[in-house]
């Protein structure tokens, strides 16, 4: 690099980083600061520190928005959906990656056709299907919707990755008398770990925070997920911003805490799927 650009580059970089840090900071700070305020305080000085560390907004939001139940519902739906996606996709990818037969190619293409399908294309008939199966307002229906929507991409990533892995280990295990099931659990499933972590991370994020599917299929109060309970809470407290912000903070904390605890794996997991898939 020339001398001028060598000197200018770090300054420019620092400036770019500082600007975006600030843009990320301001909305988050506004939410946190105002979640401790009264409505008058907020109206008067939304940018100042709260007069006192008032926790009453949090208590009210937690109780009125039924946060505890919503956390439970969100956790159940996210965990089971992601489990289904990971297991079903890695299992299906195994024969698809290891066989060149016509049926294998056909089934692979059949799954691939799902990648480009937007949820909206299935949404209207799903409403009828879930109605017929009596799954409206039930966790199982939503779990199946999330799983079916994510399988195509997960199978694509798993199959692509598995094709790049030599078969030696599997063949050795089979020689030793392990059946196909055992070989899968002992050898193949641990091998696809980089893809599994990407699939787990992206899907957990999406499902935990998704609002659209629960809006359509999980309206009953007892089955509500976190985004839906915040939506209902907001509709009851239209412009009570301090209350809404307290609910937003409460709802966001679990995932942010989890992310901070696992950030290294998280960032690696995101990147590995993108690079290897």
């Amino acid at each position: 690099m020339t001398n001028v650009s060598k000197k200018a580059a770090p300054v420019l970089q620092a400036l770019v980083l500082a600007v975006w840090s600030f843009i990320v900071l301001v909305p988050l700070l506004v939410v946190i600061l105002n979640s401790f305020k009264t409505m008058e305080e907020l109206r008067f000085s939304p940018l100042s520190l709260p007069g006192a560390l008032r926790l009453s907004n949090y208590a009210e939001a937690f109780l009125e928005a039924n946060m505890l139940r919503a956390f439970g519902n969100s956790a159940i739906i996210t965990v089971i959906s992601v489990l289904c996606i990971v297991l079903f996709a890695s299992m299906a990818a195994y024969p698809l990656a290891r066989s060149d037969a016509g049926w294998s190619k056909f089934i692979y293409l059949y799954f691939l056709s799902g990648i480009m399908v937007p949820f909206q294309l299935a949404m209207v008939p799903l409403y009828k299907l879930l109605n017929v199966l009596d799954l409206i307002g039930k966790h199982f229906g939503v779990i199946m919707i999330y799983a079916s929507g994510a399988l195509a991409l997960a199978i694509f990533l798993n199959t692509g990755f598995l094709k790049t892995v030599p078969r030696d280990l599997e063949e050795a295990a089979m020689m030793d008398g392990a059946g196909k099931m055992r070989t899968f659990w002992l050898i193949v499933f641990p091998l696809v770990k980089p893809i599994t972590s990407t699939v787990v991370i992206t899907n957990s994020l999406f499902i935990w925070n998704d609002f659209f599917v629960p809006l359509l299929f999980l309206q009953s109060k007892s089955a509500q997920t976190i985004p839906l309970s915040i939506y209902a809470f907001r509709n009851e407290n239209m412009t009570e911003w301090p209350l809404i912000f307290a609910a937003v903070v409460l709802a966001s904390l679990p995932l942010i805490a989890l992310f901070l605890a696992l950030q290294k794996h998280f960032i690696q997991g995101l990147a590995s799927g993108a690079v290897k898939g």
Partner: protein, 296 residues
């Protein structure tokens, strides 16, 4: 090896494939196939036997000015979202590819908005943008730019850009992380070679960095475009498609037709239009972008 061939092999293979095939077929392919069928009917969501009306929904679609308006908005949102995300993500990734603790810390910091539900983000930014007592106007006034204060979501000319920015703010970091990984994979000696040739900052970027970050660029462009075309949550919360349809995209229009007005048949036709757009544009993009990827 005798085992694993013949009938038993078929049986074991289907055991591996069955769970995925079942869920995928029943809850995705079957409904999708039904959508095509419903798009030829006047189904209202309640009637047991929807009436077949042929191409009537599609004829209405072509003449529906709301559809054309939401189509236009869909493209504006997808285009600006894709460009905004990728420009900002790549610029930040260039600053963050090192392993200094500040760079590591900022990667984490920029990802925080991604952890928050788009619904919550929508509320936060609505407050931020509000014309009376909104933070953005207040900040502008405090630095002497009061002539720039606006009704950010109430002004039909501005609302769409306000929504797009909030959306970029939330999900930019996902692409950034993929760019960082792509940048870190570029062999160092290529930069050294460029330095020896006396390449300046701009030339380094155009001749080494940008061509070699192409796989990450392809993934990010395609993924953000698909996300952009399907945007729903954040628009639904911030404007509901308003004011006067100014931020209504196909996803919002479809939701309203199908679930507010119970026009499930017509909604299905809109869904098929949306699918075709996403399908054609993604194929097109992959084709173009793959061509400029280089091997090294």
């Amino acid at each position: 090896m005798n085992r694993g061939y013949g009938l038993s092999r078929l049986w074991v293979n289907s055991l591996f494939l069955l769970p995925a095939l079942l869920v995928f077929t029943v809850f995705l392919i079957y409904p999708v196939a039904n959508s095509f069928y419903y798009s030829f009917t006047d189904w209202n969501g309640i009637a047991l036997a929807p009436k077949y009306i042929g191409l009537e929904n599609y004829r209405e679609l072509l003449g529906d000015s709301d559809v054309w308006n939401s189509l236009k908005n869909t493209f504006i949102i997808a285009l600006l979202f894709t460009l905004g995300v990728n420009v900002i993500a790549l610029a930040l990734a260039l600053c963050l590819q090192g392993s200094h603790w500040i760079q590591k810390g900022l990667r984490v910091w920029f990802l925080i908005p991604l952890m928050i539900s788009p619904l919550a983000i929508g509320y936060v930014w609505s407050f931020f943008y509000s014309p009376i007592g909104g933070i953005l106007n207040m900040l502008l006034e405090s630095v002497g730019l009061s002539f720039m204060t606006q009704d950010w979501l109430g002004n039909p000319k501005l609302a769409i850009y306000s929504v797009i920015f909030s959306s970029i703010w939330q999900s930019m970091a996902l692409s950034m992380i993929i760019y960082v990984a792509g940048l870190q994979a570029i062999p160092r000696d290529l930069y050294e070679a460029a330095d020896i040739d006396g390449a300046g900052m701009l030339r380094r970027f155009t001749t080494v960095t940008f061509p070699l970050v192409a796989p990450a660029f392809t993934i990010n462009m395609v993924v953000t475009m698909i996300f952009g075309l399907k945007k729903f949550d954040i628009i639904f919360i911030m404007t509901g498609g308003g004011p006067g349809g100014a931020t209504e995209n196909l996803a919002i229009h479809l939701y309203n037709q199908a679930f507010t007005y119970n026009r499930m048949g017509y909604g299905s036709a809109i869904a098929i239009l949306m699918f075709l757009i996403i399908f054609v544009l993604s194929l097109f993009q992959v084709k173009i972008l793959r061509n400029r990827e280089v091997e090294y």
